[in-house]
Amino acid sequence: MVVGEVAVETDVVVIGGGPGGYAAAIRLGQLGKSVVLIEKEVLGGVCLNRGCIPSKALIHTAGEYHKLRSLNKLGIQLPIEKATFHMPSWQTWKSSVVAQLNKGVDYLCQANGVTVVKGTATFLSSDRIGVETGGDFETYKFKQAIIATGSRPFIPSFLKTDGEYMLDSTDMLALDQVPETLAIIGGGYIGMELGMAFAKLGSQVTVIEAAERILLQTAAHLSQEVLKQAKQLGMTVKVATKVEKTELADGRVSLACTSEKNGSEIITAHKTLVTIGRVPNTGELGLAQAGVEMDERGYIPVTSTGRTNKAHIYAIGDVTPGPALAHRATKQGIVAAEVIAGLPSSVDSPFVPYVIFTEPQIAGVGMTREEAELQGYKVKVAAFPYRANGRALAIDEGEGFAEVIVDQESHLLLGMHVVGADASNLIGEGVLALELAARVEDVALTMHPHPTLSEVWLEAAEAVLGHAIHIVNQSKGAVSK
């Protein structure tokens, strides 16, 4: 490898073309900076190519397929037994969706004057970066840099993936066939989302989770709804169970598990998905050469403006401590770009919404009841069930509830959570309400259109105040769930 003598000069280099990196690069372009965006694979990162978008495409498909069974009840008579799912066709369709989005990102980069460089980037010093572009090595000299290299699945050595039997989420989304039996190690949101999708497509799914319950990122009573549904889909969910060993025999993986409740047991499956966490892509970046510090887990700590310990180097997205979510990466990217351009931007909001595309969906923003109480708030909580919402029944989606957490003293909204149909879209209203520092009255007094699912917020807010129309209020004033 010969290090190029002549460095191309640019204002900013952005390393990684995921939702954090490309948003930052486009914003920098808008603000008149010269930008080089370095991506070793395809623009769009994990989110677009093997995360959010492909997984949601699969979940949507599985949902539609599964619905066929309940259409009979609505008077639509189909010979269900004749419906089949052809995964290769799905792959073609999914690829076309991803390709269209890829093209869009590429076009937007171009339109905003971003130079996209294909290659693997490594810091050479605090103002130079080298890029290996398949045989060639180019050097870039920058005034500022943004690290947006994202994360990859965490795979411990005893659960080594092979792409054939032991799979990570990327392998799983690239399958051409629905596995007859599927074991999933990890009951987090990726495991539950994909597990439920494959269950709907016909897999016999077993989820193995080491913690006491699934979906630790959300409150227990919300995840309970998902667990109920999982059982109806015929899934087996084993909590407080650890996988000790794996073995491959006759085209199946055997997982030796132990739990206090069941002792040792063996679970066999045609495919095993390992999804127990993610690790930041910081190891190979040459951060030491740039003088950028990481924490003991490899994450890069940053300030509210995205600065690392080196004032001119920023980090955003999954490489920074905090929830690994695409919308957080994007927001951080835009803020870092604006700070570089001299604008007074900052990520100073604690309101990072989360969305889980399980059956039913869960979404939330702000504190759960437990978190609020832990912080010393006296809270009022009320929930409004989907089954009391006209629209929910009219679309045959009666499962779930919306919950509102309020500070008893000031009536300020502290948290809004929803589990049920279309929760992912409903939470938009929650995020806005919390950001605007709304009181529960603000939501209760806002006219919500009828008949829509959004009315669940209106009624939950009214329930907190003791006067919801479509449920019997437990008591006037402080109402608990």
Binding site: E9, P301, V302, T303, S304, T305, G306, R307, N309, K310, A311, H312, I316, T320, P321, G322, P323, R328, K331, Q332, G342, P344, S345, S346, V347, D348, S349, P350, V352, G366, M367, E371, A372, Q375, G376, Y377, S410, H411, L412, L414, E435, L436, A437, R439
Partner: protein, 433 residues
């Protein structure tokens, strides 16, 4: 949380070296307590804390050179101020690890405000956490920001330079903002709105056109370039004699021969020997540009002010050619017919105030050039030659130079060389190409 940024402590400075960090992470500091020492061009400045609080993070190390606007450290101004603003239940300890990009789902006890008001606070350089909200349920409103800003402004009048009058964001000079950021930037073209009736009659004229451009250019030049001027005197007798001899030939060709062409010739010879004086600095890349061409600007007096037409490639032109061109350019200047082409691209400037008078001056360098020479009045003076007082034709010259690039010694050697060439003009011919 207050981000403490490197302020512009000297007018127009771009960066500074952190000489000393006087605090460490976790330390509590009082408002106005020194935090850091920073060295800029020539000054050593002590930067002090804009607020009382705890140092959360320090981003720079001693010896590091950082740009103006870079965040140096973060101060948690919270604890004290917060107490009076929000009613915190006893058991609450907010384990805010300050500034992580997305505080997961914690620390909701920030002051209440909409995203727009938060952005506005950042633009006004106010720490919103210090402001008591008067809106519903204690929300901080836009009006609260303005009130807070006004109060701060009143409490810190000394830090508030008059140039900021009419500033939309008066808080730029507040105690919460970085106080030293409010360096007075002379803004030419803005007439001070000061009542003057008690002091007599004042006529107000608009600062506009060429005068305004000159004003802006001068400000830029002195802001960026550390000027030093050195003065010397020349004996002109031999040059006068030479000119007398040549003059009839010039007259025959209708050329008005002044001393200036001889100066330009001597200057170009000296510039070739001292290339640093025919250079400029590219501030954006920190590079010195040595120019191998000699375009000499002639500062010319016009009714509108000083204009500097440029004689291109002076080293390729004879004394007669130079004389002709000077005359031509001076005429165009007086008639206001100079084009951009005529006045751009100079590498060195001569200011010739000699015909009018004056003994010495500090000519302002024509940025991005790095030096300028001013020629003064030629007059008979008593001087000492070989221990005897004699009368000679003498003339002073003042050389201002950019001290970033040129040292005093170099500058004096340069003028010595010009002196040598002009005091014995035969040498001019020896050097001629």
């Amino acid at each position: 949380m207050v981000e403490f940024k490197l302020p512009d402590v000297g007018e127009g400075m771009h960066e500074g070296e952190i000489v000393k960090v006087l605090v460490h992470t976790g330390e509590s500091v009082q408002q106005d307590q020194p935090l850091l020492e920073v060295q800029t061009d020539k000054v050593n400045a002590e930067l002090s804390a804009p607020v009382t609080g705890i140092i959360r993070e320090i981003f720079i190390a001693e010896g590091e050179t950082v740009e103006v606007g870079t965040t140096l450290l973060v101060i948690d101004a919270g604890t004290e101020a917060k107490k009076e603003e929000t009613k915190l239940p006893e058991k609450v300890v907010s384990p805010d690890k300050t500034v992580h990009f997305a505080p997961a789902r914690a620390d909701h006890r920030r002051s209440l405000a909409t995203p727009y008001v938060r952005q506005l606070a950042r633009e006004m350089k106010l720490d919103i956490e210090l402001i008591t909200g008067t809106g519903a349920a204690g929300r901080v409103t836009e009006e609260d920001l303005r009130q807070f800003a006004n109060r701060l402004q009143k409490s810190a009048p000394a830090k508030f330079p008059t140039s900021a009058i009419g500033n939309e964001h008066p808080l730029e000079a507040s105690a919460v903002a970085v106080e030293t950021e409010a360096v007075v930037q002379p803004k030419t073209g803005i007439a001070p709105r000061v009542a003057t009736s008690s002091q007599g009659e004042i006529e107000r004229l608009p600062l506009k056109g060429i005068r305004k451009k000159i004003a802006e250019h001068m400000v830029k030049s002195v802001t960026i370039i550390p000027h030093v001027t050195s003065v010397d005197e020349l004996e002109m007798d031999q040059l006068r004699a030479l000119r007398e001899k040549v003059k009839p030939h010039a007259d025959k060709r209708n050329i008005k021969l002044t001393f200036l062409p001889f100066f330009i010739k001597a200057l170009v010879i000296a510039l070739k020997e001292f290339p640093m004086l025919n250079a400029s600095i590219d501030d954006s890349t920190n590079e010195i540009l040595l120019k191998r061409f000699y375009h000499i600007g002639i500062a010319t007096d016009t009714s509108e002010g000083l204009i500097v037409p440029v004689i291109k490639d002076a080293d390729h032109k004879s004394i007669f050619q130079l004389a002709e061109e000077i005359e031509q350019l001076a005429r165009l200047a007086r008639e206001g017919k100079l084009t951009m082409e005529h006045i751009t691209g100079g590498t060195f400037t001569i200011s010739n105030v000699g015909p009018i008078g004056g003994l010495q001056a500090t000519p302002i360098i024509n940025h991005p050039e790095v030096a300028i020479i001013s020629l003064h009045k030629m007059e008979k003076r008593w001087v000492v030659r070989e221990d005897e007082g004699v009368i000679r034709w003498m003339m002073n010259l003042s050389l201002s130079f950019d001290h970033r690039l040129i040292d005093g010694v170099t500058a004096v050697r340069f003028t010595n060389r010009i002196k040598e060439l002009l005091e014995d003009p035969n040498l001019l011919f020896a050097e001629m190409v």
